[in-house]
């Protein structure tokens, strides 16, 4: 074996920023690690090409099995039988768990997966373990993702016959910056440098922009601006974007997303077929895991079949004396998952609203992701947008192709035929701001702000002679501060003792093209132009694990003693 052996670094270390300083334009590969499937694509000099594994697959299952001492993932591993995935030794759905604390409903919904997800419900990271020789062996979502990334990397290096260092990864819109750091950690563990993390529908938007350019080249399209809605729903997430495309530029007007996906459809169906399934699985014994696995395979299979046929016969022997034998029709499936489909609809409406786009303005509506095969999903998108679904894209390959295009563009590669004269102008998927005005979240960079961005807001003290203020940075949309994602916190100290409301505390937020967020905070007293204390510059996020716990502790310890309020507009 000539290929180099890569190992995954320990998860205990902080992310090493060892950047290669070589100016050689090395093309970054595009990677899509989906909740259920993953793929790699690269710009081959003339077009985007999906790489295949040794079994000639372009799309590989996203899982890692822990057998013996060496874990192996779905890229290299060949399952002898589908049920092997449900022996307790295979860990999957990590994209749903990465960077989440154990109070998160998504983590709770993962407790009936056929491996161990344990929660203490105090805002710390959940305990995740695989069953290996009757021992629960602990692991982390980052470690599982890293094992996976290493396999993808080896696969790409063997085929491209060069070392791979830079990647563009597609990520869900709803990921917080804390979750992004977990993805970066996983990449660092796998020896990869993240060039860009791209919200999935924006990768699709870039591919769309390229296709539109191509049509102009072929004299088939007009050069006018095209507005498209992109609806991307996979196993784990539902992500949307509205893009305005012209001249190869994809301008993201709005993003929307939620941790709602095929996994939720599956769980609702499992509950429908076996109503007390959740209680049954609580013990996580070997028999229960097997039962869970059997039910999962049968249900998944049924859902797939319901995309092409009106009804399906489910017949599964759960091995504990109970047997599910039932005919399920499409209406039943749609009724059981009504809340999911309603959620999808509301996301479309929200995204169009945020983009200030009317349905009549839409040129195209693009539906991609594994769930795009479900008739109800296509129907509801068509129903809201009132136009036929765009046909020019492979629903399972669009995101990874877009990521590969971005990889080539951001690596500085140019194409003689102009196929890479492309650009995505990204927008912030979530608002970023600080806690002020009591326990309120005050956004400084609102959601859907074009990046790179730099915005500021002025605050002041709430107490007389308040010499310190606590800047607590959150990301999200909820008005109550602690319901948002905590990104970090720091204090400004040494403010001269003056009456409340006098110091002007300027909080400035800056996001650069690589999506690095910095918070700058300074204090100015009236009659002075110089800051009263040195300006603080803090790179976010600063929090590590257990951030739910941390916000609560801050609140308990300091109350409102170090609070801020926004400066009211004086008339």
């Amino acid at each position: 074996m000539a290929e180099p052996a890569y190992t995954v670094a320990s998860d205990g270390e902080t992310t090493g920023e060892e950047k290669s300083s070589s100016s050689f334009p090395e093309i970054a590969i595009g990677v899509d690690i989906g909740t259920s499937q993953c793929s790699v694509a690269v710009w081959n000099g003339s077009q985007v090409e999906l790489l295949k594994n040794t079994r000639n697959q372009k799309l590989m299952r996203s899982y890692v099995t822990f057998k013996d001492e060496i874990p192996s993932g779905g890229v290299s591993n060949q399952l002898s039988h589908e049920h092997e995935l449900f022996s307790g030794a295979a860990i999957f759905n990590m994209k749903r768990l990465v960077g989440r604390v154990d109070t998160d409903p998504v983590v709770h919904a993962s407790k009936n997966l056929p491996f161990l997800v344990q929660t203490l419900d105090i805002g710390v990271r959940p305990f995740i373990a695989a069953l290996v020789n009757n021992v629960w062996r602990s692991t982390t979502p980052e470690e599982v993702l890293a094992i996976f990334l290493v396999e993808l990397r080896v696969m790409a290096e063997v085929q491209l016959k060069r070392p791979i260092r830079n990647v563009v990864l597609s990520i869900p819109v709803s990921f917080s910056r804390f979750q992004l750091t977990r993805i970066q950690r996983a990449c660092a563990m796998a020896g990869l440098h993240v060039l860009r993390l791209m919200p999935e529908p924006t990768a699709v938007a870039l591919l769309y922009a390229q296709q539109q350019q191509q049509m102009i080249h072929d004299n088939m399209g007009s050069g006018s601006e095209k507005i498209a809605l992109i609806f991307n729903m996979g196993a784990g997430y539902c992500d949307l974007a509205v893009t305005a495309t012209a001249g190869g530029v994809a301008q993201i007007k709005a993003l929307a997303g939620s941790a709602t996906g095929g996994e939720d459809l599956l769980q609702n169906m499992m509950r429908h077929l076996l109503p007390d399934s959740e209680n049954l699985f609580l013990g996580h014994g070997i028999n229960e895991i097997k039962l869970m696995g059997l039910l999962r395979v049968a249900t998944q299979d049924a859902i797939h079949k319901l995309s092409s046929q009106d009804n399906v016969q489910i017949d599964v022997d759960l091995g504990n004396g109970s047997r599910i034998c039932k005919v399920v029709n499409r209406e039943e499936f749609e009724e059981v998952n009504r809340n999911i489909f309603e959620k999808c609809e509301s996301l479309i409406i929200q995204c169009l609203h945020d983009a200030k786009v009317e349905v009549d303005d839409l040129t195209d509506v693009i539906v991609v992701g594994g769930c795009s095969y479900i008739p109800k999903i296509r129907d509801l998108v068509k129903h809201v947008c009132k136009i036929e679904v765009y046909k020019g894209m492979n629903p399972l390959e669009a995101a990874v192709c877009g990521a590969a295009l971005e990889g080539a563009v951001a690596s500085g590669i140019s194409d003689p035929f102009g196929s890479l004269d492309l650009l995505t102008i990204q927008a912030t998927p979530l608002g970023i701001g600080i806690r002020a005005n009591g326990n309120r979240f005050v956004p400084i960079i609102p959601r859907n702000t074009t990046m790179p961005a730099r915005k500021e807001l002025i605050f002041t003290t709430v107490n007389d002679n308040q010499t310190e203020v606590l800047i607590v940075v959150y990301e999200g949309e909820t008005e109550k501060a602690e319901e948002n994602h905590l990104l970090g916190y720091f204090k400004i100290m040494g403010i001269p003792p003056v009456p409340k409301g006098v110091p002007e505390i300027n909080v400035c937020m800056d996001i650069d093209a690589s999506n690095v967020l910095r918070v700058l905070a300074g204090v100015i007293l009236p009659g002075s132009q110089q800051p009263a204390v040195p300006v603080m510059e803090v790179r976010m996020p600063t929090v590590d694990d257990g951030h739910g716990w941390c916000a609560e502790a801050l609140h308990r310890s300091y109350g409102s003693t170090l609070d801020l309020v926004t400066v009211q507009k004086k008339i």
């Binding site: 012209a246 301008q251 995505t424 093209a513 002075s528 507009k569």
Partner: protein
């Protein structure tokens, strides 16, 4: 004092990180015209200075009569030039600042309400470019949700404009002039 400071590239800075100078704090001064602390001479100086600054139209390279499609097209062309993803690696920081300015010009001119208000200011020579509007960004976001606030805002900016004009003409009460002179001299010491 240049009112676009903080957006101009700072020579000798690391390509990735902005040196934490206090330029973003200095922006504060011209930000709030309701609390003008400058004497009338300074206001005039500022207005003269503003004339030298490029307007949003000049920045986008379109005439003041430019249509929305023209604005959009100009924006996309400039984005292709200045967006840090496509800019030369050694000029990322500079181009990022430029892109942010282009973005602000585009956002202002592509919104009929904001364009109208900008045109009004421009005609009066009050060029509250870039950062000047920044402080109100958040408020503006909120306003978009309620129409009544829009009307209130336009009335407010009209008031502001008038008071600014008055100030510029030196048409202030004796007390106001004295307070301003005192503020100014205390700052200059």
């Amino acid at each position: 004092m240049r009112c676009g400071c903080g957006l101009a590239a700072i020579p000798g800075t690391d390509a990735r990180f902005f040196v934490p100078d206090t330029s973003f704090i200095r922006l504060r001064r011209p930000v709030d015209p309701t609390r003008v602390q400058f004497g009338s001479l300074k206001i005039k100086a500022r207005i003269n200075e503003a004339r030298k600054e490029v307007s949003f139209y000049e920045l986008l390279g379109i005439p003041e009569t430019g249509t929305l499609p023209e604005i959009k097209q100009a924006y996309k062309q400039l984005a292709r030039k200045y967006h840090p993803d496509v800019s030369p690696p050694d000029r990322v920081e500079e181009y990022t600042q430029r892109f942010i300015r282009v973005q602000e010009a585009y956002e202002t001119l592509s919104d009929p309400r904001r364009r109208a208000s900008y045109d009004r200011d421009l005609a009066l020579g009050i060029h509250l470019a870039f950062s000047a509007r920044r402080r109100y960004q958040y408020d503006e976001e909120l306003e978009e949700r309620s129409e009544w606030k829009n009307r209130w805002q336009s009335q407010l900016s009209e008031l502001k404009r008038r008071s600014m004009n008055r100030d510029a003409r030196g048409n202030m009460s004796w007390g106001a002039r004295m307070r301003r002179q005192r503020d100014e001299s205390s700052r200059e010491q």
